[in-house]
Symmetry: C2
Subunit: 190 residues, 2 copies
């Protein structure tokens, strides 16, 4: 019978990121992550299939937040307005105290091709979830996928700016700004 481990998931994520940053991703084992978190390997594998997935644990939650907010945006909202509502909902799920974690996460991902590949897949997954929610609103292709891609890019940009050392702006505001920049760039290109 499994013991209830309070915050096991969060503790494993923090332990993994600490170890990846300290000694490198390749050198870090699941056992070390579990030890650092004060948990067992069995508990680790109850939460994650492998050490790579630890850093992308929030993907399903993020996709759901985006989809729900896009789905419940006012009927009169255009595709990019609905995407903006999705980004607001997603941004609100990141506590301000997560900024330092985010900065270290981006640094670790940037240094490992295997993690960059997984990040590209997460980007595509979140864009796909937004596109699906937009199609459900009646937005045709390729507009739905394009608006979703702008949303995913806006969030990536905003997250990088949010975690920058000198930033004082909230994530939601930065996401809105980045989406506006991308909309203007799309207008200029077209």
């Amino acid at each position: 019978m499994a013991r209830w481990e309070p915050n096991a998931r969060e503790r494993l994520v923090v332990a993994a990121l600490d170890l990846f940053a300290e000694q490198g991703y390749d050198a870090t084992t699941v056992r070390q992550i579990a030890d650092r978190a004060g948990l067992t390997r069995t508990t680790f594998f109850r939460h994650f299939p492998d050490k790579r997935e630890v850093l992308f644990a929030g993907q399903d939650t993020h996709a759901r937040l985006l989809s729900e907010a896009i789905g419940t945006a006012p009927g009169a909202a255009g595709p990019l307005e609905a995407v903006g509502a999705g980004l607001d909902a997603l941004a609100a799920s990141f506590p301000a105290g997560r900024r330092d974690f985010g900065a270290r996460l981006l640094a670790v991902v940037a240094h490992h091709p295997e993690l960059r590949e997984r990040a590209a897949f997460k980007h595509a997954g979140l864009a796909g979830a937004m596109a699906e929610a937009l199609r459900t609103r009646g937005v045709p292709e390729p507009s739905a996928s394009l608006a979703a891609e702008l949303g995913a890019r806006a969030f990536d940009t905003a997250y990088a700016r949010w975690t920058a050392p000198d930033n004082a702006e909230p994530l939601g505001l930065l996401a809105g700004e980045a989406l506006t920049e991308l909309r203007d760039a799309a207008a200029a290109l077209a």
Copy 2:
């Protein structure tokens, strides 16, 4: 001393795709791929690090074709025109006889999350190469990355249409059409 194996790379790619389609990706080993191609495991590993990479062997060549054509597009060409020149060059590198191979490749990739992930990374890699070539032309961000993303999406769309059973249009024409559709969608969104 390694023997010269004519067309070893191409033979390995075809053998791998045949086996993935016949018996599944997970069940296929490097040894089986090499056997089917009439080559050795050593020869396989001279060309590819693992069985997954076999299906994405063209990525570096594709990135180079895109970059060079974008770099040598007329100075007066706008970002999307330069991207269009890149897509023309890339499309021209696919012989018409590769359509059936392409259809089977898309089917195998669609059925395996591991391959879909790698395909998303290839998409991001090609978009990144185009964005870099556009920045070199003086296109600022986020316009460069956005135009590059439209190009990568246009090519994905065109490749899927090109390999469809009832298609009779050449890949380059389809890529140009897809890019126009995306440009129009961008204009409508913005």
